[in-house]
Symmetry: C2
Subunit: 204 residues, 2 copies
DNA sequence: TGTACATCAGTGAACGCGCGTTCACTGATGTAC
DNA sequence: TGTACATCAGTGAACGCGCGTTCACTGATGTAC
């Protein structure tokens, strides 16, 4: 801090954050395969060993990156929710969720990929924040179904749709994918909140 | 074929299928990280180079394994569907989908992971077969929503739920997860097939 | 204000690893005559 | 029925790769006196 912007300071300043940022960039440019400890260090302009001052191992860096991903997702969901009311807000959140996954598919996969043990608390916190945005809106719409079922169903719907789209298992891209996500989320929201229909149970 | 069960025949007989089987086993025992060309060859009792007689590269073996996964999933879905009618059949398919993912999470991730170019036709065929099982049932239930939206919504719901469960992002395991999947799929099916409710659009 | 020293945050060389893939080869099989 | 030969399906050694991680180190920083 004594020498501001010195050409090549020995001490980085905030290497921890820089490594996370570098990792996010690598993920976007080269996908999960391109994200290695060494590559992140290289990109942060630091030796291969430097990250070990800030993360015990590679998994810890990945968890920190994923946590930042969840924070970004939560931001998107909250912003979408704030811009509308009722079912339209649910539709907007669904579209935002899918948009996030489409924009940053590798990050999205990392966020939801298998987590080893020893997951840092920041990860849980960020993940819960994203979930809370969806669940709060879903609870406000809950009709006959239990609120937690509605929340889980909403999350599953948008999460599954996002996954199918980014993995190319559904022939939807760009704006068509967005529009479909919004349309389906809205229909879903309207119908889930209605009381259970009184049709007969089985209709072969 | 001339010498049946000779101790160590030079020619394997059906190495292609054996490699796929070996890959499936590795996936179940050691996850995606444990699945390498060399490991599959080792497990099939063959040199590291032998697989190249049957697959141009590693991606081709992975695609063949994923295709077999889709066939297994389609079997499960068809069996579940055949055992029930109407909404109950949809619920059974949802539960079967989630059960499959929980039993073979690494295979499930491989099946839906990113596919490189040059995906073999068998993969598309198997994948379509699994989708058709869900979509056919969904179409039979479609109410006011377009049939393809209903099919996509059903698929997204169970796919998302399966993903959230196997990645541990939802505190559900074992039978509780199964029961939740079935309950949600049934509610979902009943409500999606009903005409659009006549509540006012916004309810803040 | 100056200095000694503990601590922090980086370096750079090296290790072993398993991987996908290449190369040139050899043993087994089937077919034409 | 026997033989020559093309083709098929495997072997085994080797390559280069980037990786995560270890080790012993050095430069920078802050604090007690």
């Amino acid at each position: 801090m004594s020498t501001l912007k010195s050409a090549k300071p020995y001490h980085h300043g905030d290497l921890q954050a820089a490594l996370v940022t570098a990792g996010l960039a690598l993920l976007e440019e080269a996908g999960e395969a391109g994200l290695s400890l060494r590559a992140a260090a290289r990109r942060a302009g630091v030796s291969a060993m430097a990250p070990y001052r800030h993360f015990p191992d590679k998994a810890a860096l990945l968890a920190a990156i994923a946590a930042r991903g969840f924070d970004a997702l939560a931001d998107r969901l909250e912003a979408a929710d704030a811009g509308a009311d009722g079912h339209a807000a649910m539709a907007a959140q669904g579209a935002a969720y899918v948009a996030f996954a489409m924009e940053r598919p590798a990050l999205f996969r990392l966020m939801f990929g298998p987590r080893g043990p020893g997951c840092p608390p920041e990860f849980e916190a960020a993940s819960n924040r994203a979930y809370a945005a969806l669940a709060t809106r879903a609870a406000s719409l809950a009709g006959a179904m239990p609120a937690e079922d509605v929340a889980l169903a909403c999350w599953s719907l948008v999460h599954g749709l996002a996954g199918l789209i980014i993995d190319g298992r559904v022939p939807l891209t760009g704006e068509a994918a967005q529009a479909t996500a919004e349309r389906i989320a809205q229909s879903f929201s309207e119908r889930l909140s209605s009381p259970r229909p009184t049709v007969k149970r089985s209709q072969p």
